[in-house]
């Protein structure tokens, strides 16, 4: 409606202006005639006096206020028309820009949601996490989990923080009051003050009380929203009723709000922190498993507050010098703590898509320069007829802006679809649920469109509307040097493009190589045809060594009898499925003066056949026998790494270690040494101690993994094995039913994801660079057709022409390659933490990149060069 009115208004005013000018012109003519001139002379005199009426009209129209809109409409019209004249160019450019802008927007959305947006807690900038820090830490994680005793002393003895709260992750079996529908779920223990500290109010019911937050407190539970909806159909009448947690009747006191998915969306319920400990453990200083959240006081700096806590910790350390107690306390902001695992990956991906977008921009710019060159005469003629340079630049810019707007629109749609996909398929992405497109993202995308449009359009527009109009008009297609400067411009852009591509390729190659390295990692055990599944015996029914041992014994017998099973064994945690318990110990034969972290090893429990079933080689001594069971359990088998680290490779058999089980020490004799297995393919090998699982000790062996080596498809054996478990204990749920292959795939999935994405971006960039190289060279050849014709006519050999053109095209590729390799020396430092088994200067990767790039460059150059060498000199000379 408005547009139409404006259009109507403009048309009317136009007609009005025309009439006004005409009437005044006629009047002038009449006056000249009255002065005695002939009709003919009067008319020409009047026209002379008036000057260029078209120009007057143009200038007058400029005084009208909406003229800029009219100009815009006209520019867009011209731009669209020019673009439609070569639809292939338009479609390819729009698609390339759509990919670039879409991918960048997607990554920005994720970076914003995950890294930049404040946590959804009250005044979340004031929240920090406190960790213990060992001064002699051997390069591992410097932020160590906190012992409950330490946390309690910090809280009672320091005043620098407004308050501090503790939490720990905790697994559990959830079932109904009649033990129906048991499921193994992830849960958390949180201290009573945790939720008030974070500023979280329950959606229904209430939070924990201080009285409940005691080791033997009244069993209560807070449900998360997802469990409340899923299992209890969102019915608030569940509050005050009971459910079973690890077979203990527990009262539901409240439901947490929908938005509360901290620290992980998979957490199903919260129990009071202190109830996850026994009376004695609640004040221990040697067992580390908790995380501590603290809120800063408004007027105290984080350094001062942390320093005070650190001083308390140092006093604790002095009191327990022989135990694993840290000296210092370190803190970091809560948000950094939550995103520490993905920050580098996200930033690397964002940089990668940024590079790709830049390459796409340069490519578009390059293509536009070529198009501008072919329209050089048109532009020159328009310039000499009075078209202002600004108008010409604006018109060319419109073209690139149009491409970018269309690409941006398409890219935004693409990013809407891909962002959710990315967030959902990124394993363990914290805050994945907060990833969504909002006003800021749209603004970012719009800014991106504008920036890319200007960047791609400005260089060609300025370079093609230079002042040498006359030279352009005079220049014939025969002159070989006329557009040398433009060719130089294009080659420079191409060099930058190739340098960026090399950087991307090197990063992608390194990431991909480390991914392959992980995929082919040797776990140190059998991978093929092995199925694993976990179960945890409820401690209420299985409270003695006899009961646990009997269950394990009968289960093994039953599974080994199954057809299709070649061997079965029990272990606490299967290789490759993540970290497990570690313990501090001392070697009796080599007493250490005070406690050091050096004497720490992972602990596993295993049955006698575990090593043979999993093909873990026995290196020295012997493995367990059926005799190491029940209370005759003071024997351990150690791994090769253990022997190398603590015995410098000497014979460990017959030596004794004293292991601290929380606050009680026991002595074990080393009976054997076996090969290493890896608990996480992204981590180095750790020293390991194996304890006999047939001891049946409820504390250490009630959680177990059954591993079965099968003769048929291992997944097909999962149901028969599960049936054996439920035959022994009908309500016992199993979880993590995975083949060893799947375990490997799971731990490498994130690395594979990132590596594949970067590789995809790099390949696309390589393709773009190849297209750019081909485009520039073809353009140069077309420019030099007549020159080549003359050379041929004067007797140049075709091979000479071929190498002349090839060298012309390969030079920017070489320079770009060198620049890119130099730059990647810096950028690969950024991804160092994402690399496994590869160095940033990996010669194989860099060699492969050089070879790939040169091959692609050669491929892109060979066709135009070959065409040039096949030119027919007569035809070339005739070509205008």
């Amino acid at each position: 409606m408005r547009w139409w009115q404006i259009w109507k208004g403009t048309a009317k005013r136009d007609a009005d202006l025309e009439r006004e000018l005409l009437s005044d012109l006629e009047l002038e003519e009449e006056e000249q005639r009255e002065r005695g001139l002939s009709a003919e002379e009067a008319r020409s005199a009047a026209r002379r006096a008036f000057g260029n009426t078209t120009l007057i009209r143009e200038q007058t129209r400029a005084a009208w206020s909406w003229v800029w809109m009219e100009r815009l409409v006209r520019d867009v019209k011209y731009g669209t028309r020019t673009l439609l004249r070569s639809p292939e160019f338009a479609i390819v450019s729009v698609l390339v820009m759509a990919l670039g802008i879409g991918a960048t927007t997607s990554l920005f959305t994720m970076v914003r949601a995950v890294l930049l947006q404040p946590l959804p807690f009250r005044d979340s900038g004031k929240l920090v996490m406190l960790y213990e820090h060992y001064r002699h830490n051997k390069g591992g994680d410097e932020f160590n989990a906190v012992a409950p005793g330490d946390y309690r002393e910090w809280r009672s003895q320091t005043h620098g923080f407004e308050d501090m709260a503790a939490m720990r992750s905790y697994g559990g079996i959830l079932s109904g009051v009649h033990s129906e529908l048991p499921e193994v779920v992830q849960s958390e223990g949180g201290s009573a003050n945790l939720f008030p500290l974070l500023g979280v109010a329950p959606a229904f019911g209430r939070l924990f009380t201080e009285a409940e937050d005691k080791p033997k407190g009244e069993p209560v539970v807070l449900l998360t929203w997802s469990l409340f909806q899923r299992r209890f159909a969102g019915d608030p009448s569940i509050i005050g009723k009971q459910i079973h947690l690890d077979t203990i009747p527990t009262t539901v006191v409240g439901v947490l709000p929908n938005w509360f998915t901290y620290p992980d969306a998979r957490v199903q319920y919260w129990v009071p922190y202190a109830q996850t400990f026994s009376e004695g453990d609640y004040s221990m200083h040697a067992g580390h498993q908790s995380e501590v959240v603290a809120r800063l006081k408004p007027d105290i700096s984080v350094e001062a507050a942390t320093h005070e806590v650190s001083a308390v910790q140092y006093r604790i350390r002095l009191a327990y010098a022989t135990r694993p107690v840290a000296e210092d306390v370190w803190s970091r902001p809560m948000i950094d703590d939550l995103v520490k695992g993905v920050r580098t990956q996200l930033l690397v991906l964002l940089c990668a898509v940024g590079c790709m977008l830049l390459i796409a921009c340069l490519n578009l710019s390059n293509l536009l320069v070529a198009r501008a060159a072919s329209r050089r005469k048109e532009v020159a003629i328009r310039g000499s007829l009075g078209g202002s340079r600004l108008a010409l630049i604006r018109e060319q810019m419109t073209e690139s802006l149009l491409i970018c707007v269309a690409g941006g629109g398409l890219g935004l749609l693409l990013s809407l679809a891909s962002t959710q996909w990315l967030a959902a398929h990124w394993r363990n992405l914290p805050r994945a649920d907060s990833v969504h497109v909002d006003g800021w993202v749209l603004t970012f995308a719009a800014g991106l469109v504008l920036a890319t449009g200007l960047m791609a359009g400005l260089v060609p527009a300025i370079s093609s509307t230079g002042k040498e109009l006359l030279s352009a008009l005079k220049e014939s297609s025969r002159s070989a040097s006329g557009s040398a400067s433009r060719a130089r411009l294009r080659k420079t852009m191409l060099t930058v493009e190739i340098a960026l591509t090399v950087m991307l390729l090197v990063s992608a190659g390194l990431l991909f190589k480390s991914f392959l390295h992980l995929r082919m990692a040797d776990l140190g055990c059998r991978i093929d045809h092995v199925i694993t599944m976990k179960f945890g015996l409820p401690e209420i029914q299985y409270d003695t060594r006899d009961k646990v041992m009997l269950f394990h014994q009968s289960l093994l017998e039953r599974v080994r009898r199954l057809p299709g099973v070649r061997g079965a064994a029990l272990v606490s945690v299967a290789p490759g499925s993540g970290p497990h318990d570690d313990r501090v110990f001392t070697i009796l034969e080599k007493p250490a003066p005070s406690y050091t972290l050096q004497y720490e090893a992972m602990t596993l429990t295993a049955d006698p056949q575990y090593f043979s079933v999993m093909q873990i080689p026995l290196l020295r001594g012997r493995v367990f026998t059926e005799h190491e069971r029940l209370n005759n359990d003071h024997y351990i088998v150690v791994s090769k790494q253990f022997v190398d680290q603590f015995f410098s490779g000497d014979d460990p058999i017959g030596k004794h270690v004293r292991v601290d089980w929380n606050d009680m020490g026991e002595i074990y004799e080393i009976i054997g040494e076996v090969g290493d297995t890896i608990y996480d393919v992204t981590k180095p090998v750790e020293a390991t101690m194996y304890f006999p699982i047939l001891s049946g000790s409820p504390d250490h062996t009630s959680e177990a993994t059954i591993v079965a080596w099968t003769s048929i498809d291992p997944l097909a054996m999962s149901i028969p094995i599960q049936q054996q478990i439920s035959a022994l204990e009908p309500e016992l749920p199993v979880y993590n039913v995975l083949t060893m292959d799947q375990i490997l795939g799971k731990t490498t999935a994130t690395q594979g994801f990132a590596a594949n994405l970067v590789l995809a971006f790099a390949s696309l960039s390589l393709l773009l660079a190849a297209v750019g190289l081909y485009g520039v060279l073809s353009y140069l050849v077309t420019q030099r057709v007549s020159e080549i014709g003359i050379r041929l006519a004067l007797g140049a050999q075709r091979e000479q022409i071929l190498s002349l053109i090839l060298f012309d095209g390969l030079r920017p590729a070489f320079i770009g390659l060198i620049l890119g390799l130099t730059a990647s020396a810096g950028t690969t430092q950024l991804i160092r933490s994402m690399l496994y088994g590869t160095e940033p200067t990996d010669p194989a990767v860099i060699g492969a990149v050089i070879l790939t790039l040169l091959l692609i460059a050669l491929f892109a150059c060979i066709f135009p060069a070959w065409r040039a060498s096949r030119l027919d000199p007569m035809q070339a000379l005739r070509t205008e």
């Binding site: 009005d16 202006l17 009439r19 006004e20 000018l21 009437s23 005044d24 006629e26 009047l27 002038e28 009449e30 006096a49 008036f50 000057g51 260029n52 120009l55 007057i56 200038q59 007058t60 400029a62 005084a63 009208w64 206020s65």
Partner: protein, 119 residues
């Protein structure tokens, strides 16, 4: 008149053209041709009206609401012309521009002929 002189005059005219047009219209409504002719005659042909600046100026003044226009029959010729008429806003603007011009002219005069000022 050399090209250089014409250039100088055009420069002089710039910025003051709006004022001259408004002042001309103080006598009563006029069409574009009359306005141009009037300025030219009053300055003894010193200021030659460029149509390329006059019409944009007129439309600019109208856009700002300082003049209104209407097609009217000319009293001497049997034809309609587009007559411009000063508005109340235009009158005020003329006073403003006039006083600004005066200040400007006095300031220039003080610099150029300091002796004349003293006597």
């Amino acid at each position: 008149m050399t090209k250089k002189q014409a250039q100088q005059r055009a420069n002089l005219l710039q910025g003051t053209l709006d004022m001259l047009v408004l002042r001309t219209l103080l006598h009563g409504p006029a069409h574009g041709h009359q306005i141009g002719k009037h300025i030219q005659r009053t300055t003894n042909d010193f200021l030659q009206m460029q149509h390329g600046s006059l019409y944009p100026a007129l439309h600019r003044l109208e856009e700002r609401g300082w003049v209104t226009s209407k097609w009217e029959m000319a009293p001497d010729r049997n034809r309609e012309f587009k007559y411009y008429r000063l508005t109340e806003l235009g009158r005020k603007q003329l006073v403003i521009e006039e006083s600004q011009w005066k200040q400007m002219a006095e300031a220039v005069a003080r610099v150029m002929w300091p002796a004349a000022e003293e006597s």
